[in-house]
């Protein structure tokens, strides 16, 4: 239908300079473009790529033993694992522990080994305190003299294992696995396993909150999109209001409202719906209520902006073609809101996956999501390897979900409707 495209002058005399001109013009455009996005690129690199990189690095970093007992580890390389290592290894260990005595290094070694096997910390600290050995004592006798446990080959095995420059120990721990004495990966015993359950719980709670946000947010966004602008703006302010107060304040407000003597329970009892107060706090219910409240705007805003862009003429067209209004809504309007539903759900879901304060304050121990444990390891246990590993698992789970989303939902729904 269209006219034949213009072709450039094909004569070789002109072709070269034209090409060069084109390239020069393109290059200038590219340079300008790059100059424009440079600040953003630097920002993204500094605030996103580097921290995530260092997080992933930390989840496998294992410098404590490797950096502080280099000679011992080198000698242990030649050790068969049968019986005790030879005297040279004892000598090296005694020297290196002695050197680390009184420095943070000894605490690092002790803490790291203690993670492999509780109790090793005191072994290391006690030995270091007793070092150096008296002149002329053989190192093996000396160390075993300080603590009988040095006679146990398993301890040496543990030192060797903990001495690799990187470790899967934390990442395995984050999925309830550990490395057995034999070196094979095994499941943690049932009473110690926790993170897979927590991950599933995090996922499950995020799904429930997302669905609840969608069920509440969809009619709200629809109302806002159909209301005259003035009323819609008022509603919008109400929706956005929670954004302007801190999460802590909102959570505190929910505690007041939901507690046994709180507004909701008083109302329910006054209405006669219940005789005794219903427990709404420190369980899942309270967590869900507060999370939905906090996350609703993340659902409503994308939905609203998509709905605002859907011309009412589509509904009219459907009705004019013989489709009753409700059915038209379902068959025409609803699919057109898919990009908003997808974007809102993804947003809510991903924010949910990282929730921490709300479940910590409103939930019981069985309602904590994975971020709670990341915070626990960061702040309280000061085990940043484990915190990083849990974060990496959360990141991986989020990425997998995002990939699934673009594969099955986002790509299609969004492309079709643009």
């Amino acid at each position: 239908m269209t006219a034949a495209s213009d072709t450039l002058d094909p004569s070789p005399a002109r072709a070269v300079p034209l090409k060069r001109q084109l390239r020069r013009a393109e290059r200038r455009k590219n340079l300008l473009f790059m100059a424009l996005i440079l600040p953003l690129a630097v920002f993204v690199l500094a605030s996103f790529v580097l921290p995530i990189g260092s997080l992933l690095q930390r989840s496998i970093a294992n410098p404590e033993v490797h950096d502080n007992l280099p000679e011992t580890l080198e000698l242990l390389d030649d050790w068969s694992g049968e019986g005790l290592p030879d005297e040279a290894a004892f000598v090296a260990l005694a020297r290196e522990l002695g050197a680390a005595r009184g420095t943070p290094a000894i605490a690092d070694i002790a803490k790291r080994l203690n993670r492999e096997q509780p109790g090793l910390r005191s072994l290391v600290m006690r030995s270091a305190r007793a070092l150096p050995l008296a002149e002329g004592t053989p190192a093996q006798d000396g160390l075993i003299g300080i603590d009988e446990r040095w006679r146990d080959p398993v301890i040496w095995e543990t030192i060797k294992r903990a001495g690799s420059p990187t470790t899967g120990f934390y990442l395995l721990g984050a999925i309830d696995r550990t490395i057995a004495d034999g070196g094979e990966i095994v499941k943690l015993p049932k009473e110690e396993a926790i993170y897979l359950d927590v991950l599933v719980r995090t996922f499950e709670m995020s799904v429930i909150v997302t669905v609840a946000c969608l069920l509440l947010g969809f009619p709200l966004a629809y109302l806002m999109a159909t209301l005259p602008v003035r009323h819609a703006n008022t509603l919008m302010i109400l929706v956005l209001l929670p954004f302007w107060t801190s999460v802590l304040v909102r959570v505190a407000a929910w505690i007041v409202i939901l507690q046994n003597e709180g507004l909701v329970n008083k109302l329910l009892m006054w209405l006669g719906a219940t005789d005794a107060p219903i427990r709404l706090l420190f369980n899942r219910t309270g967590v869900y209520i507060a999370m939905v409240h906090i996350l609703l705007p993340f659902m409503v805003l994308p939905l609203y902006s998509v709905m605002k862009g859907i011309s009412p003429v589509y509904m009219r067209a459907a009705v004019s073609l013989g489709c009753p209004p409700f059915s038209s809504f379902w068959k025409i309007y609803f699919p057109l809101t898919m990009p908003g539903i997808a974007a809102g759900s993804l947003l809510v879901f991903i924010v949910c996956m990282g929730f921490y304060i709300t479940p910590a304050l409103l939930g019981g121990p069985g309602d904590q999501m994975i971020s709670y444990f990341i915070a626990f390891y960061t702040n309280q246990a000061v085990n940043w390897g484990m915190a990083a590993a849990l974060s990496a698992v959360l990141l991986a789970a989020t990425l997998v979900l995002y990939a699934l989303y673009t594969r099955y939902l986002g790509g299609n729904a969004v492309n079709k409707i643009r």
């Binding site: 605490a107 690092d108 203690n114 009473e191 110690e192 926790i194 121990p365 702040n379 000061v382």
Partner: protein
């Protein structure tokens, strides 16, 4: 003209960073810090002219670690609990104390004197109940476990520490054997099995302010508590009682983060806060026991009787084993989290 302005300016800036006689003291907030302000901060400032800048934290070692590792230490004196003191000292987060600047070691309770921190008070985690709601008073952790005789919700701190000890006490383990038992896998299993018995009846608390409130409102019939919080609630007229039998006491310490910019002033503050008279005044504000042996003598006997360190209250009580918790804490907390979240 210009030069003089410059000189004045430099002098002013220099004055800001050097001549400033401020010392930043970080505690856990709440009633205890209010007591510290009265007993320590204000009198110390009045005596020395050094201003105390108070701050709060929740015992997160991560903050001190980050500060020391980054070489940007803004805290001068920190109140730390015993396991954190031990770990932090080993990891080089705290200055090794020079006792010549603090006082005579022999003047203090032996456990208070450590390499990196000097004990400032003794506090206790004990069983408490609302005397208005319970007709019969519980007397032991075995009673805490007895849900037939004492029906209702009971509170415990969300964490392995103390919780496991109380479970073993309730199961009949003698105080002196607690940590020996807990060192063994069988002992840990025994503690968790005991906890399983009352799991549905437990409300877990995290902040020390929660249990007195929950006890007063009737949501809990009994709870583990920090003894200082109960005293505060009693002052407000709540009829809450402490059962000292089976209580576990521990020390809080003053420590100096390594690289504190006001080291000399930090020592001056610690020296002041370790004298008998200020410690006695602190105990009068908050019923935590003094660490300076001479303090009890200067105290009102009525106050002394409310302290965890009074001889009557020490019957059946025992000290927490810091070494044990440093060694096994991480493992047991993980185990506890796994158990609690099921």
């Amino acid at each position: 003209m210009k030069t003089r302005l410059l000189v004045t300016l430099i002098a002013a800036i220099a004055g800001m960073s050097f001549a400033h006689a401020d010392v930043t003291v970080i505690s856990f907030g709440g009633a205890a810090q209010a007591g510290q302000k009265k007993a320590y901060y204000d009198p110390f400032s009045a005596e020395s002219g050094i201003k105390v800048i108070p701050g709060e934290y929740n015992g997160e070692m991560a903050r001190i670690t980050a500060m020391v590792q980054a070489g940007n230490v803004t805290w001068d004196v920190v109140e730390v609990e015993s396991p954190e003191l031990v770990r932090g000292c080993e990891e080089g987060l705290f200055e090794k104390l020079d006792y010549s600047k603090i006082g005579n070691k022999a003047d203090f309770v032996p456990e208070a004197v450590t390499d990196c921190g000097i004990g400032t008070f003794v506090w206790s985690t004990a069983l408490a109940y609302n005397a208005d709601t319970l007709k019969e008073a519980p007397t032991s952790w075995a009673d805490f476990w007895n849900v037939e005789k004492f029906p209702g919700k009971r509170g415990l701190r969300k964490g392995a520490k103390y919780t496991l000890e109380f479970a073993l006490l309730a199961d009949g383990v003698a105080p002196k054997d607690i940590y020996k038992v807990l060192e063994t896998p069988e002992g840990v299993a025994r503690a968790f099995a005991k906890l399983d018995q009352i799991k549905p009846h437990i409300v877990w608390w995290e902040a020390g302010a929660q249990p007195p409130q929950l006890l007063a409102s009737g949501d809990l019939v009994m709870s583990s508590v920090y003894n200082g919080r109960i005293a505060a609630a009693r002052k407000e007229g709540r009829n809450l009682e402490i059962v000292w039998n089976g209580s576990i006491y521990d020390f809080d310490y003053w420590a100096i983060p390594k690289g504190s910019p006001n080291l000399a002033d930090a020592y001056k503050y610690i020296e002041f806060a370790s004298r008998p008279a200020p410690q006695a005044q602190f105990s009068a504000e908050v019923p935590y026991g003094p660490t300076n042996n001479a303090a009890v003598g200067t105290m009102d006997p009525a106050v002394a009787a409310t302290l965890p360190t009074s001889p009557a209250n020490l019957v059946g009580a025992f000290a927490t084993d810091t070494e044990f918790w440093v060694e096994y804490g991480e493992d047991l907390e993980q185990r506890f989290n796994a158990w609690a979240s099921r």
